[in-house]
């Protein structure tokens, strides 16, 4: 990311480019490499950690005054229990984490100065996650489910790092012409204001729903789940975006998302780190 932002070997400058005010309606397609770490105290005191990926499809309305982003994210990670080392016979249990996340974010620009270098934005984000975890070593407790919903206060600072003049770089025998390009570097922090979660009852699952005529797996695990309003969530995003002259763009981002959902009886905790690559398709040309 740092390499992309640095522009070496300036040799001369051309006339300065004037960009139009931003007014875009973007389709967002994101994928990532991710690292997840989670722990469900209802079944294990151990962290499960491992890599994975995601696919996000979203819609964004973006202008100089505000931005609205909404989308659906599907995440999957393969994890291993973080067990203590053993010189006798080390226990290894694996899990699969998958999650569906829906989010809506609205940010208002507090400093709508088109020529300014910095934008400060403030707003809110609503995120809902439905997690499904599989841990075959846990016998009848193999299936883990949690629903987590957070209303978050969102702040974003954005730095315009556009190249406004054409430059020419010389590298060995090559002459590279660098055209003006719109680029931004932004950091967003979402802090949970209201946190809700739906977690299991006292025991991880419940015998009652298996009544002989209602034997679906989901009723088996869902019936004793209940909502709680507790816990916290923090999410930060450092993103570098580069737009082409057509308004399309691409984005590299590092996202950290951490949540703590105590429920009524046993907490669920999770942190995800993602290196994301996003394509922005502008539908407002």
């Amino acid at each position: 990311m740092a390499l992309l932002m640095s522009v070496p070997f300036y040799s001369n400058a051309q006339a300065e480019q004037t960009f139009k005010p931003i007014n875009q309606k973007n389709i967002l397609v994101t994928t990532s490499l991710s690292f997840a770490r989670y722990r469900d105290f209802a079944t294990s005191p151990l962290f499960y950690e491992g890599g994975g990926t995601n696919l996000y499809l979203g819609w964004q309305t973006l202008n100089d005054n505000w931005e609205l982003t909404m989308g659906v994210d599907f995440l999957v990670n393969l994890t291993l229990a973080n067990t203590p080392k053993s010189d006798f016979y080390e226990a290894n249990t694996f899990g699969v984490y998958s999650g569906l996340e829906g989010s809506v974010s609205y940010l208002r620009n507090l400093t709508p100065d088109f020529n300014g270098k910095y934008d400060f934005k403030l707003g809110g984000t609503l995120i809902g996650n439905q997690n499904m975890r599989i841990n075959p070593a846990l016998d009848n407790s193999t299936l883990g489910l949690e629903t987590i919903v957070n209303l978050m206060l969102s702040g974003k600072v954005q730095r315009d790092i556009s190249r406004r003049e054409e430059t020419v770089s010389n590298f060995l025998f090559l002459t590279i012409r660098n055209r003006p390009v719109r680029r931004t570097l932004a950091f967003q922090l979402d802090t949970g204001v209201l946190s809700f979660n739906r977690r299991p009852g006292y025991n991880f699952f419940y015998d009652g729903p298996v009544d002989g005529t209602n034997t679906t797996m989901f009723s088996y695990v869902w019936d004793q789940y209940s909502w709680s309003m507790n816990g916290w969530r923090l999410r930060s995003k450092l993103e570098f975006t580069q737009f082409s002259s057509s308004g399309n763009g691409r984005r590299l981002a590092y996202v950290w998302d951490a949540m703590h959902a105590p429920g009524k009886h046993a907490a669920y905790q999770m942190g995800i780190h993602r290196i994301e690559y996003t394509i922005l398709i502008n539908n407002n040309r």
Binding site: P84, N140, Q269
Partner: protein
């Protein structure tokens, strides 16, 4: 350069941030940590403390004294497994990568099934359809079905085929001896084929609090009816001490069916549903968190369901299966 360093700093900051925010990492190979964790989990969640009549607090004192710092994993496993086996429950198991603990409740009674006798003298022409081995007995007057494990899912097409094959017989024998259990979802699939009306057969209760008597409300367990192929003649269900878990549940529910008779020995028990968990050292365990009750609210099924007709296998004559013979006799007479 300053920008670059800032980015690196932020990445480093957040890549370990949740560890600071979460509670400490409880992973531990310390014998005392693992002992305490397991003892507490059983204390807080196991569903049959009262029925087993075990003083769980005294057991803690007894087995904690066997721990010492630096003890081998094998020794720790033996201590924890011995502690769990005090509950006399095969739904209580400790699973390490190198061993699994069992109580072996089937060994508390006589063995009542000899597969060689069954195959050599009764099942010469058996068909194998899905999880069932089945054949005609007594000059085609009786159908015999052996269901070896409730872990094998019962398919509707399989049941249609098997019950159609024996539709003209005078009675059916369902052999559940040495069936160690599995999915209770298979219980209604089978029993609804022998049932004429929606029938309340049992209740279940699940532990829902830290006190050993804390349970949620009684939840009814019904067996419905089947719209397709069913069998309404006498059914003899063969059971023994190795009929465990879902098989015990099945045996208990048959008490509500006048056309079903249990023959053999008392089942092994295991009426509750086990839940799994994991210790700080990565080993896993399971134990029952619920109870199955008969229609009068009794939880005796955990210790076994008695047969309606008690018969034992005679090991001095391996040409005959006395339990199966008695079932044939009951149908034909």
């Amino acid at each position: 350069m300053r920008r670059f360093l800032t980015i690196i700093f932020l990445i480093a900051l957040f890549s370990s941030c949740e560890k600071v925010l979460f509670e400490k990492d409880y992973a531990s190979s310390d014998p005392f940590d693992n002992f305490e964790y397991l003892w507490n989990e059983v204390d807080k969640k196991y569903s049959y403390h009262d029925l087993k009549g075990v003083d769980w607090d005294a057991i803690k004192v007894e087995y904690k004294a066997k721990l010492h710092p630096g003890m081998s994993e094998d020794s720790l496993f033996n201590v924890l497994a011995a502690m769990l086996n005090k509950l006399r429950d095969d739904h209580v198991n400790l699973v390490a990568p190198f061993n699994i603990s069992f109580y072996n409740v089937d060994l508390t009674g006589p063995s009542n099934l000899d597969f060689r006798t069954l195959r050599e003298h009764y099942m010469g022409n058996a068909h194998y359809t899905g999880p069932f081995a089945h054949t005609f007995l007594a000059d085609n007057r009786i159908g015999y079905m052996r269901y070896g494990s409730f872990t094998s899912d019962v398919d509707e097409k399989v049941l249609d085929h098997v019950l159609t094959r024996y539709k003209d017989t005078e009675g059916l024998i369902l052999d559940l001896r040495a069936n160690g259990g599995g999915s209770i979802f298979n219980i209604p699939k089978i029993l609804e084929r022998f049932n004429q009306q929606n029938t309340l057969v049992a209740y279940t209760i699940t532990r829902n609090g830290p006190n050993k008597g804390d349970f949620g409300p009684r939840e009814p367990f019904y067996i419905g009816t089947h719209n397709g192929i069913s069998y309404n003649k006498p059914v003899m269900v063969l059971i023994d001490r190795a009929s465990y878990s879902a098989t015990t549940f099945f045996a208990l529910t048959t008490k509500s069916f006048p056309n079903i008779t249990l023959i053999g020995d008392t089942t092994g028990g295991g009426g509750g549903i086990p839940a799994g968990g994991q210790l700080p050292n990565g080993w896993t365990y399971r134990f029952s968190i619920s109870q199955v009750l008969d229609l009068n609210g009794n939880n005796y099924a955990e210790e076994g369901v008695e047969p309606d007709i008690a018969v034992n296998f005679d090991w001095s004559d391996l040409t005959k299966d006395e339990i199966l013979e008695r079932a044939i006799e009951e149908i034909l007479n």
